[in-house]
Symmetry: D2
Subunit: 337 residues, 4 copies
């Protein structure tokens, strides 16, 4: 950490700054420039995170040097992690395609969808039983009944199941049924929930919050990993900006940035990013071209009748086209589908 | 709701659109323009919220007419609501000043702070026992011990206590000790938590999320109110933008917008908006000038030693100056302090 | 256009609204709902753009139906436009790769770069003679001397030249030398400049502004086209958001959105979007996968010595790798390189 | 400037980094930490602005220490600047209220408006003769005829005139008529225009761009000042964010930030920030409470008939109320009106 002091800082202030830092472990180094004096902190700076540096008299600004996450960082963990989901892994050479409806609406629609997406090449089934909705008047999921349906359809199709958990009290329940627990964008900084799923040994699909920097996403992953659960999948699903031709702004560059910063697998959610089904293929191809390890895509037998997110769900034919269209891009990226 | 159809929409599609809408209650009205045909929906449109309109063949765009919140809306509830906090109310003519440290760090620092801010005119005490922190390595609060300290200091000073709840499992515990439960910005769309605090009869201070539109904030309030708890205080605390001279961008205009849209009281948090103590007075004066019903301000006996948010906490003298400086602005706004 | 009136609007107000609209041409249609009355405007609404609708008594909100651009719109111009640049076209099946240094720094560096990028497959040469710089203390280009160097290198290599124009007074000068005139992001809403380049018959590369919606970009193109110059190329180069791991946030979805909304060719600028050379390949592959008609990429013989934007410039070897890596993605997208 | 090197940087790389820097003037200082080695640059760093630091082998990140603006900075110029406009000054104790229509539409409407706002206490008259409009189909001003009308009305009322210049070719023309030349938000980084108005001795009202950081605004001012024109007024008028209840997001905190960073006067434009007239009073009071030196407000005799920005223009009665409401806030802020 580099501490920039204000013009005219006194020797007493400089001494005090150095004592304050050194009491927490790091050594300090003083460099006097023509206009400013700078204090450089050297050594383990873990404990500096709790210090309100700008409150120390004489300090004007602070410039961090180290990354604030460690377990998630690729530094010291150069090899990419692969996470086991059912019989396959994500993060290796083969792409993972997680597909299914926004919400589990009933057994037959989920069966139909699962059979179709499996035949088309999907490697896992998504479907929400507990649904976060901006309005309290919107459909919020079938709850445990939805979980049971997911489990039944897995038994039939063999597709591992990805489903969201929203409440610390439901973590054990959801973990009973799900192969992968999803933390939604709105809960990315629900630290109690992150801590709770960190106690599981089940993979966690962590979606980026709408106003989360890449660093915030990695710190959220760090919360889970700090509890011992290293099976975290990161998901880029768009951030909130002024642009209104799409539901969110798909931050494509976050994919290669994450692949450089972390060893964790990265998937993209083109459905939520776009909010419109017509853009899903273009965003999917681009995500794979940019290095994503997989996709999570909404598919519904009859989107017009969907109880949530129908506007961004593909019909079966569209999903087939997507998979067909994806093949050459997967190959171009050196991946298998 | 107004449904804009695509150029060349067929009569069959138009019939289908109208049937789909009317099956849910509303009547429809067809208007054929030169370029576009428009379907107008009339009547109670509650159930349309679940319909993926863009998925109905022939639909190109949808334009809502009604506001999506009802209980929070000022329409049909013209009179401003006043919420009781301890012996005083918020939302009436008198301004509420909630002050105290970011985190409860111990009994003596809280006592000292509470005595001081009370003497200077504060009407309630803030202090976090459960702390949401971006990094899992940062101090996250004293937990129940912190709640007990808050309660002890209330007993001594008579100041009602505002403290954050982060987990559905802690709602009852926090409600035992707190006069007002705070929902933090990162949990504004933690719908399980909103629902849970909606079951209490205790006031809820609901902070705006970093990427929440004003409408999202009102829908979050609606979640709480739908459960029967009408005692919701809304808090503008800054949104996340590209500007980096402040921690967040204080959306001052949200204050008068909220005062028009809702009957609920509105407070401002200049400390989190700015992230720097030197800006707190200017933001506080502006918030009151713009019509806020109160402030929530961070104060610490020795910010340099604070375990969280020290950089934005006022020292006692600064808080005294703030209160002195605020008086003429309160008067200019026709409010009492 | 749909006009939503306030609750309790009077008949006199409704009459006045309709008279005001009809005086400008459109017919109106009144629909009375349970809560609101709506006025629908039918017919040519060109003149409504100048009317401050919210200022008419009784009006609460306005919902546009029509797109505000016509010449740029794909509606009524379904076929994609191809723009001639030198001997090749952009917007057809073959991808255009515009490469070169940020700034023209001298003859030999430009010659060297042009020869190299041409050999690697570039179809045009970029290079700035007039440079917009955030700081007045930064290098701002060689001016006319730079234009002459560009022209000399074109004569030698046959590569058509793309260079920026910043000032209405320089339009004729730049047009003397350039094959394509570039309007930079900071000048996207410099309407005098747009109008001036609209009078040329030379292609214009129009970069999206940092805070421009897709609609704003299309309206800026419309300014140029309204003057008679239909040879406009649109360029996605990232928007400004809170994310700071990249210089801008590459709005990949804008590419397929633009391809749907307009018949104009669309290129992507991965260099400015990322601001870091290591991300340029991933963004390039993704842009082509998403449907872009070409790329504009910064290449420099020795980025460390570049006078501007060196951090995002590829060295020759990296450009060769980019072109090699791009080939399979171009093929997957059904394009030729 | 602090240069952070990558883990494993070699001695050769370090030597090269230091040579590269020192060749440009600054001295360097090497500090070896446990994980990273840091190179500190000391001395005049003016020339480093052109160096692409990340392109130097071994460099991982760069942290600036110095502010990039000098003439605009309050450092070394502690006293606030006052700028003469007509017979009064802006930046001193008396607030400046610049009022008038968005566009000059004709002599009588401008006369009427000028007389009214003067009687109510305005100190200058605003009105656009050249209008930047997002759509090429919208009214774009009366041009020189509008300037003449402004000049005639000044002659009658004695109010100095503020009007926008959009094109380098019009600078001399506008300067013939205007007391203050305005640079609009869309031209804040039109560097040719900034340079051109920097050659005048006339005050310049510089509006913040929609995606400009405070630092960008100060650098734009620096462009003007570098040419010798120190009479720059800065204007906060809202930035573009995801929030859509207002036209722009009024960044109130920018006012006290600017007052700390620069000696230049700061005014606020509540009309463009809000985009709705009902919010103009609240934003105006807040701006003054936060330390603004003045306001620029849109007023129109009949906004419903305005050819631009009618929705945000106050009618005469509303302007009178605004001025009456402002008085106690001005007094609370220790300012005169």
């Amino acid at each position: 950490m580099i501490i920039i002091t204000r013009p005219g800082v006194t020797d007493e202030e400089l001494d005090h700054i150095r004592e304050r830092i050194e009491a927490l472990g790091p050594r300090t180094h003083l460099i006097r420039g023509e206009h400013r004096t700078v204090v450089l902190c050297i050594g383990d700076q873990q404990d500096l995170v709790n210090v309100p540096m700008l409150s120390i008299p004489g300090v004007e600004a602070v410039r961090p040097v180290m990354k604030p996450y460690k377990l998630a960082s690729r530094q010291g963990h150069e090899e990419s992690s692969e996470v086991q989901i059912g019989d396959s892994t994500i993060g290796g050479n083969a792409l993972s395609i997680i597909a299914g409806p926004c919400s589990v609406e009933g057994l037959s629609m989920l069966q139909e969808t699962a059979r179709h997406v499996k035949a088309a090449g999907a490697t896992a089934l998504r479907g929400g039983a507990f649904k976060p909705r901006s309005s309290p008047y919107a459909f919020d999921g079938l709850g445990e009944e939805g979980l049971k349906i997911l489990s039944d359809v897995r038994a039939e199709t063999g597709l591992p199941v990805v489903t969201e958990v929203m409440d610390t009290r439901q973590v054990d329940l959801v973990a009973e049924y799900a192969d992968v627990l999803q933390i939604g964008a709105r809960n990315m900084q629900n630290f109690s929930l992150l801590t709770e799923v960190g106690r599981l040994h089940r993979p966690i699909l962590l979606k980026r919050g709408m106003s989360a920097k890449v660093t915030d996403l990695l710190l959220a992953a760090e919360y889970i990993m700090k509890q011992g659960n290293m099976n975290v999948l990161l998901c880029e699903r768009g951030i909130r900006t002024f642009e209104d031709s799409t539901r969110n702004t798909f931050d494509l560059a976050a994919i290669p940035v994450l692949k450089k910063e972390t060893h964790l697998p990265v998937v993209a959610d083109p459905s939520h990013a776009a909010g419109r089904r017509d853009l899903v293929p273009a965003l999917s191809y681009a995500a794979i071209a940019a290095g994503a390890d997989g996709l999570i895509v909404e598919v519904h037998p009859n989107p017009e009748m969907a109880v949530s997110d129908g506007d961004q769900s593909l019909v079966f034919d569209e999903f087939d086209s997507l998979m067909a269209g994806l093949a050459p891009f997967a190959e171009a990226a050196g991946r298998t589908l």
